[in-house]
């Protein structure tokens, strides 16, 4: 049973300055004790057993890496454990809960909630997984011609057509060529396949960069608050310091350069060397899409301050408002005339989001530009210890970056699937946004992009007191009540960070459209009764 608690006393913001204290404590030498079998260990001088551990087993909560204890990841935290328990109860005793099913709105996992994969992508992957059927005539009847052709093309790029072999540690060269071409087509600026590192999802790439940049708790990483907790967890795991910068809820989660500057100076005055700036665009959990001039100011800021810009762009295909468009940071930087010598930029992309939603495949990449060959060698070296990322995920990443084009046999159906999914996501984003805004004391910024809504709930004092009595953070208390009443699983805002004294929760826009009305009515009903119970 997972026992990790979101509502621990420490707030996300203070934590970063407290790691090192814990670290020191657990490094003090253990008390000397004699080994169990002195008589059977001839030659072992008893005076040398100064560090034989006491009776405590070698791997226990007291003796594991304290950074593991420190890190937290709310997306699959306590509330999910509770939900799973309720789900089991429901299965064992149908009708035992005031709802028929648990709806997991805690995690950006589209296909688990009924979204269909893009057929063309799956056709190509299936053929690459079982290439021997490409020689059979019956295969023509089961697969589209362009999928077969693409599979052949890909297999020709893989030495020996061996999709079961470890590839180059950065990923199959031919696939990186395809991705680089895709990046160039998207941005209008060239991309170098040697700058691309294919990884098992974007998350391992983020970890690699944290590992590269963090030397000690004196190294800080500027992260948006609210943020996707991979960043806080990763920074904790690698022993660094999270330097928060607040997004402005009042202006649609705006990112102000003045805030960046303030936090940077603040950190410096505390002896922290800030190494990088994390920007999530479109935002998670906040969903805002940055305006171009905002992006230019960010690039300029990083250049001036010598910070690495870590651009999490995994939601680049999820933009729902006509007035905003996704622009990659690379494109912005290059269009400002900034090249490799001017700015260190790492861009992350994934196959898990967009309209493809292939979370379970673990495919993604980072494009690393602007750093020396010696540093690239180091990144390569660490990548090589894990040999390579999974081939199927690599193939998928290349398909995502170069999907069917006008004229291809599969283009029509592909296009219809893509538009269907994206327009549905846009509708669901709007419907849920409106629903939240209609709740008493709740305001919700528009989800311009990504897959989430992050409504702010104004909890009455009575509720806050009740939460304290239950030893829970107020938003966790609300979310648990919500779960128990409706079966809907959302993640308390404290898991992402928020201005102290404000409360939020993150809800995905992913349940299928036909389920949305029921969700809205259940949520509305629950909220009303909650406010009735706790209204001041």
């Amino acid at each position: 049973m997972r026992r990790f608690v979101i509502g621990r006393a420490k707030s996300l913001l203070n934590r970063s300055y407290q790691y090192h204290c814990q670290d020191q404590a657990l490094l003090r030498p253990l008390a000397p004790s004699h080994s169990r079998f002195l008589s059977s260990t001839p030659g072992l001088d008893s005076s040398s057993t100064s560090s034989a551990s006491s009776m405590a087993p070698p791997v226990s909560l007291d003796t594991i890496n304290p950074k593991v204890l420190e890190c937290e990841y709310a997306v699959r935290g306590e509330i999910v454990t509770l939900a799973q328990r309720l789900q089991d109860e429901l299965k064992a005793k149908p009708g035992s809960q005031p709802f028929d099913e648990i709806l997991y709105c805690n995690i950006g996992n589209p296909q688990s909630l009924g979204q269909q994969p893009i057929a063309f992508f799956r056709e190509v992957i299936a053929l690459c997984d079982h290439p021997s059927i490409l020689d059979k005539s019956e295969t023509q009847g089961l697969f589209s011609a362009d999928a077969i052709e693409r599979a052949w093309q890909i297999l020709d790029q893989i030495p020996g057509r061996a999709t079961g072999a470890y590839s180059h540690s950065q990923g199959v060269k031919g696939l990186r060529d395809t991705i680089a071409a895709g990046i160039e087509a998207r941005d209008g600026f060239p991309a170098n396949p040697n700058d691309i590192f294919l990884t098992d999802g974007a998350s391992p790439a983020v970890h690699m960069m944290m590992q590269l940049l963090i030397r000690s708790e004196k190294d800080g990483m500027l992260c948006p608050i609210p943020q996707y907790p991979l960043y806080s967890a990763s920074i904790a795991l690698h022993g660094g310091s999270l330097v928060p910068y607040y997004l402005d809820e009042a202006t649609g989660w705006g990112l102000e350069i003045s805030e960046l500057k303030k936090q940077l100076e603040d950190a410096k005055s505390k002896g922290i060397t800030v190494r990088a700036l994390v920007v999530i665009n479109p935002g998670n959990p906040t969903g805002q899409v940055l305006a171009e001039d905002n992006q230019r100011a960010i690039v300029e800021f990083c250049k001036q301050e010598g910070l690495v810009l870590l651009a999490d762009e995994v939601y680049q295909e999820n933009v729902y408002v006509p007035e905003k468009k996704f622009h990659s940071f690379k494109k912005i930087a290059r269009s400002m005339g900034y090249g490799e010598e001017d700015i260190c930029l790492v861009s992350f992309q994934s196959v898990s989001k967009g309209y493809y939603g292939e979370c379970g495949k673990r495919g993604g990449y980072m494009e690393v530009t602007g750093f020396s060959p010696e540093v690239r060698e180091q990144i390569y070296k660490v990548a090589s210890v894990n040999l390579c990322s999974n081939i199927s995920g690599q193939i998928l990443a290349s398909l995502v970056m170069s999907p069917p084009k006008v004229g291809d046999e599969s283009y029509e159906s592909y296009s219809a699937e893509k538009d269907g999914i994206l327009s549905s996501l846009a509708r669901r984003a709007k419907t849920l946004e409106d629903a939240f805004n209609n709740l008493e004391g709740v305001t919700c910024n528009k989800a311009e992009g990504a897959m989430y809504l992050f409504p702010r709930i104004r909890l009455p004092q009575k509720a806050i007191k009740a939460a304290e009595a239950a030893k829970k953070a107020p938003d966790a208390f609300y979310c648990q009540r919500l779960l128990n009443a409706t079966g809907v699983v959302v993640v308390p805002g404290s898991g992402f960070g928020q201005v102290p004294g404000t409360w939020h929760f993150r809800c995905t826009i992913l349940p299928q459209e036909d389920k949305i009305p029921a969700i809205v009515s259940r949520l509305t009903e629950f909220h009303k009764s909650f406010m009735d119970e706790f209204r001041d």
Partner: protein, 481 residues
Amino acid sequence: MAPKALDYESLNENMKKVQYAVRGELYLRASELQKEGKKIIFTNVGNPHALGQKPLTFPRQVVALCQAPFLLDDPNVGLIFPADAIARAKHYLSLTSGGLGAYSDSRGIPGIRKEVAEFIGRRDGYPSDPELIFLTDGASKGVMQILNTIIRGDGDGVLVPVPQYPLYSAAISLFGGSLVPYYLEETANWGLDINDLRHAVFQARSKGITVRAMVIINPGNPTGQCLSEANLREILHFCYQENLALLGDEVYQQNIYQDERPFISARKVLMDMGPPISKEIQLVSFHTVSKGYWGECGQRGGYFEMTNIPAQTVDEIYKVASISLSPNVPAQIFMGLMVNPPKPGDISYEQFIRESKGILESLRRRARIMTDGFNSCRNVVCNFTEGAMYSFPQIRLPPKAIEAAKKAGKVPDVFYCLKLLEATGISTVPGSGFGQKEGVFHLRTTILPSEEDMPAIMASFKKFNDEFMEEHEDHRGYSRM
């Protein structure tokens, strides 16, 4: 100008310390030569499919169907997929919550972990708990996770065999721990000496290091030796006495080329030893779909099984696993198929057995061919490859060769391997990448080149080696003191 964040000087020192020779200098040079048009035989990494081994048919059929479930609705699917593959695909899809494209449970799909537990139970005769089995993106990720959990700082030591598979040294460097080596004895068939172990621990402790865990690789990599039951008992007793967790890397458990020492898992021996030991020793066992006769390296599928780890620690490990959301789902299905393969009576059984046996018997033959081939070379001595996928011959370099290496600014075995590469296109990994006794040199090659290619490869090696030795010998004596 202030140093920039990604300047070499400003990088994490631990990262800089990491070495991983398997894809290091030799491999990079080989890749360069390949680009220039030279034919290279890559024997640097245990990557069977890259050297012509064919994937087993049944698992590929099942996974392809899972990737494209619309096929299952097509009336013609039976024309190219057998019924049992179709049934299995449907079964695995039913275990997922949304097919292959959805994040699974962070520990892996429960139904597949159950299959793994059942496999372990059949193999060892003791029940295994699916809740204590975590599927991972390859065994390497699992090893990293566990080491990261154990290592707090450089005051923590991990016992690692020398020679070792350099994932261990790399991971320990990366996490800032201390590697405590214990030497395997080449003249005793790479055997392990408990007194040696005790000495290693004693030395480490006298330097103020807390030795936390011991790694065993069984069958060994690069050395190939298979541990006997008596060996395992000794090791477990030792861990019990010294209060060490045991990490059992058992990824080559299907690769056994002799009959005197079949594979026996550390867990089985532990359970056989009964309480209190069987309830006390903290054991983590690792397995993979990359090796054996499956060789599905590119899928990145593995698992670790925890024994006697406290529930709270398991929770913490689960928490960290959840940050990466889930292991890749296709590989989880490969794992399920590996531990629960076609059974007698299944439509695909005959073909599956034929393919599997073919691969294993061929590996056994190749292990012998390579060992004998190396032993026929001048100044080369090679222990038999009892298991795993490698040959690790000792190259007795004459003093002149060692001098030439020094002049070239290279470690002697790197020098030899580079010359071998340039002369023959055979890409190996120098023994220094795995660790060896001072002044003793080896190289690691895999036994994976196809049987048809092997005679030519061994002849090519012999020609190079014997000429190299001729050129560098002046009868002053050999490298081994």
